[in-house]
């Protein structure tokens, strides 16, 4: 078993529980001993764009400090937003002067020494597990299910923290292919869902969500997959009446199902598909 420090983030303990459950199920089968960070705090969510807003980095850095306290060198995030915020702060404190100021502020903690890496589930599967390892763990193949891989913005922007090529990402497609799904052409897959405008400007979010779902349906998708709880919320709760009624699941739910966990939505979608359970050879419709 490989020990891996894990930062859940607030959503995984509330709205996004199914994502966490599926992911942890799969990671255990892949040989990871998941160690949740003790006393973690909110990642900081929307990171500040101000150059000198040191205060906004205190929260994320405190989490990285807990990882250091565990004696670990890196930390896993599942949520696209948590990943972005933690990765950004890890980089922010690479500059010694900023690190010194944060440490001076955190006067009741041991000093943060930096050097903690932040990984996302997708990069872990690609860079460490390897796509080719995934099929051998598949207990129930996605069996040709047509999926639309929705990245949104947080996984790919800003460029320094992108989990993949921001213009032509493929990591989510490759993972889903390895599980037996068929990714469909989906031009709007990296478009923003509207994010926090969901609070004050529902109209803008609805317009975008409608466009994203039409694009997914246009490619022939039966299911939309995402890694962000806010995207998931917007794509399901803010869809305009005329938008295609596609189900939206987290990557962790899909991964968990393929690795043998229960997931009623996928089971229902696969009813009527040919020969369930047979691994389907991958090969992109991309």
């Amino acid at each position: 078993m490989k020990r891996l420090a894990y930062f859940p983030g607030c959503a995984m303990k509330d709205q996004a529980r199914p994502d966490e459950a599926g992911t942890l199920h799969a990671l255990a089968l892949l040989g990871y001993e998941i160690a949740e960070i003790p006393r973690w705090n909110c990642c900081g969510t929307v990171y500040s764009l101000a150059q000198d807003d040191l205060m906004r980095h205190v929260g994320p850095v405190r989490n990285l400090l807990r990882v250091q306290g565990m004696g670990e060198k890196r930390v896993l995030a599942l949520c696209a937003m948590c990943y972005g915020t933690l990765a950004r702060s890890a980089r922010f404190v690479q500059e010694p002067e900023r690190l010194a100021r944060i440490n001076a502020f955190l006067d009741t903690e041991e000093d943060f020494r930096g050097g903690i890496g932040v990984v996302h589930l997708l990069t872990l599967l690609r860079d460490e597990v390897g796509y080719e390892k995934l099929p051998s763990h598949v207990k129930q193949s996605l069996n040709g299910l047509k999926v639309a891989t929705y990245y949104g913005c947080m996984l790919l922007r800003p460029r320094e923290f992108a989990v993949d090529d921001p213009d032509r990402p493929e990591v989510m497609e490759r993972v889903l292919e390895a599980l037996g799904a068929v990714p469909v052409p989906f031009p709007e897959r990296t478009e923003c869902c509207g994010a926090y405008l969901t609070v004050g400007r529902k109209d803008i979010v609805e317009e975008r969500v409608g466009r994203i779902l039409r694009s997914a349906r246009g490619g022939g998708a039966d299911l939309v997959v995402t890694t962000c709880p806010l995207c998931q919320f917007n794509l399901t709760e803010r869809r305009p009446p005329e938008a295609p009624p596609l189900p939206v699941l987290y990557l962790g739910q899909v991964l968990g199902w393929a690795f043998g966990a229960d997931e009623p939505t996928i089971a229902a979608l696969l009813v009527g598909q040919p020969t369930p359970g047979e691994p389907v050879s991958s090969g992109g419709a991309r």
């Binding site: 607030c10 509330d14 006393r39």
Partner: protein, 223 residues
């Protein structure tokens, strides 16, 4: 007499060492009509901030529980303005988003931990805010069980959260919905309703006041 010098609201006084801040203020001539209650560390009325010479920290504590030190600069905070939105407990559900919906400023927490440092009860205040953010009501209730509502965390918080009101709601939700009912209490209530103790209760109800007072004073008190 062993004395120390303290500065109360900027003015220096020689007071006997070993006094609490509250007693030192009274020794110096203050008559406390606010910022003083139980004198036992329970009511949270005596919130006080102070600095020590040569130390950048701003300390926060309860005046009735904290001994004076030489060179202390003291100011009391008898009242903390704090926002508590109106709610009816019976209309609320003990769910993830309930606290955040009533106290949206929780989401402004930057995890600076200043609240924790201010808490005279040594509670993990920031952890409780974080638990509230992710909707873990039971955790909030447990972490804040010993809160005395002194308001010191609230006065120090850069996110302007009204902590003790959040805690109170969490404990109410926890008590009303998440804690298992005590079976023996329910049984006893039913017994009383069924007039199992009718003879005894009726006797008290018809007692003369003097007799009742005497009976109360003579009651057996559990150790």
């Amino acid at each position: 007499m062993n004395e120390v010098t303290v500065f109360i609201m900027g003015k220096g006084y020689r007071v006997p060492a070993g006094l609490t801040i509250m007693k030192a203020m009274e020794y110096a001539g203050y008559r406390l009509t606010r910022g003083c209650g139980c004198r036992g560390g329970y009511c949270g009325a005596c919130a006080t901030v102070y600095r020590l010479k040569g130390d950048y920290r701003l300390y926060a504590d309860l005046a009735c529980q904290t001994p004076v030190q030489d060179g202390m600069y003291i100011a009391q905070l008898p009242f903390t303005p704090a926002e508590r939105p109106p709610y009816a407990l019976q209309d609320l559900a003990p769910e993830g988003q309930t606290l955040l919906a009533l106290f949206p400023e929780l989401a402004r927490c930057v995890a600076c931990n200043t609240c924790t440092k201010a808490c005279p009860q040594k509670l993990e205040v920031m952890d409780a805010v974080q638990a509230a953010l992710r909707g873990d009501i039971r955790q909030v209730a447990e972490l804040t069980f010993d809160c005395v509502s002194c308001g010191l965390c609230t006065m120090r918080c850069p996110a302007e959260i009204s902590h003790h009101h959040v805690w109170q709601l969490a404990r109410r939700l926890n008590g009303a919905y998440l804690t298992p009912r005590a079976k023996h209490v329910q049984e006893r209530v039913q017994e009383i309703a069924a007039r199992k103790f009718a003879v005894e209760l009726d006797a008290f109800m018809s007692m003369d006041r003097d007799v009742l007072v005497a009976a109360y004073k003579a009651r057996e008190i559990e150790a």
